[in-house]
């Protein structure tokens, strides 16, 4: 876990209990996502990369 992972987790902590999204066909609530980020290295890597890619594109666009 690094600072980016912590930032993602903090972002997800603000989501309410009904919030959810789908990753590879599996529904994940914010809490399930946080748990998975803490335990599943591959998932953490993929989510972090997706977030970084988005942030990079936002920075480039500005």
């Amino acid at each position: 876990m690094d600072e980016v992972d912590e930032l993602i987790i903090n972002y997800l902590k603000n989501k309410d209990a009904s919030w959810g999204w789908f990753f590879g066909g599996t529904r994940l609530s914010a809490k399930e996502t946080i748990d998975k980020l803490k335990t599943d290295k591959e998932f953490r890597k993929k989510v972090k990369q997706a977030v970084i890619n988005r942030l990079m594109e936002e920075v480039r666009g500005e």
């Binding site: 919030w19 999204w21 789908f22 590879g24 066909g25 890619n53």
Partner: protein, 283 residues
């Protein structure tokens, strides 16, 4: 006014979990939004089984395209209740030469490549397809856009891909949630359109074969790589042995027949590669 009848399209949308409620709904919308432009068969929910798909593709009208909205993995497109696949490598002959359009996760990795090798056009994703419940309609819109263009008559797959990416970008701009933007971008970046682009490979031998032979490089099997390695080892051993023998005689710099033989072998390989490149790239 054109006298040709609209193309036949087989829509397949299993429905058995939360994710597939969304994908089924998106497929329903796609069926209705394109119904003016295509004739269709629709296998939905419990009807979306392998048997039914195979029956429709063999006994039904001549379908030009198959649209699949459900789970998938590298090996194929998943059937109702997650029981096996409706389409995979084993029944790939049934879709030979057709257009396959799907939002299924990962299908662009292996199945899409196999389908493309069979002369299919393939639009799908080579990683998981992520979406959010905040703004699911944006993902449905993005996922279906390429097929809408095809249904309206666009057959230039490079243009379809460009238009799909533009669509994703517009939707990323209007999305309210950061998480939605993240996963729209992720899906956009993993969109594959086989025909507009050639599938890539992480395997160094496959990449070499694709570089030399173009798309024909996908036809090579592992034993072709083995043959190339054996040639290299054989040539190297011979060269080494020749060098040792020639050094024994004390005049290694004289032009021996062995040098000429090895040089001719290399020359023939490079000439062959050049000829193959021309033949297969123009094929």
């Amino acid at each position: 006014m054109s006298s040709t009848s609209p193309p036949w399209v087989l829509f397949i949308a299993p429905e058995f979990d939360t994710a597939t409620h969304y994908s089924k709904e998106w497929c329903d919308l796609l069926v209705s939004s394109t119904s003016k432009f295509v004739q269709h068969g629709y296998l939905e929910g419990t009807g979306a089984t392998r048997e039914n798909v195979e029956r429709m593709l063999t006994q039904g009208p001549s379908y030009e395209a198959v649209v699949f909205y459900n789970h998938g993995d590298e090996n194929g497109l998943v059937a109702q209740d997650g029981e096996g696949y409706v389409l995979d490598e084993k029944n790939i002959d049934l879709v030979k030469g057709k257009f396959i359009y799907t939002l299924a996760c990962l299908a662009g990795r292996k199945y899409g490549v196999k389908a493309w090798q069979q002369g299919c056009k393939f639009i799908g994703y080579d990683d998981v397809f992520g979406f959010t419940e905040d703004e699911p309609e944006l993902f449905g819109e993005a996922a279906g856009f390429g097929f809408e263009l095809w249904a309206r008559g666009l057959r230039d797959f490079k243009k379809i891909k460009e238009a799909m990416i533009d669509k994703f970008n517009r939707l990323i701009e209007i999305a309210k949630s950061f998480w939605t933007k993240v996963w729209l971008q992720h899906d956009r970046d993993h969109l594959v359109v086989y025909d507009a682009e050639r599938p890539s490979s992480k395997c160094i031998f496959r990449r070499l074969a694709l570089w030399v032979f173009g798309s024909f490089g996908w036809q090579f099997k592992r034993w072709h790589s083995l043959a190339a390695i054996l040639f290299g080892i054989g040539w190297g051993l011979t060269a080494h042995d020749l060098w040792v023998e020639i050094c024994k005689s004390g005049t290694p710099w004289r032009i021996h027949g062995g040098y000429i033989g090895l040089a001719l072998m290399l020359l023939s390989v490079f000439l062959s590669i050049g000829i193959f490149r021309k033949v297969f790239r123009n094929a």
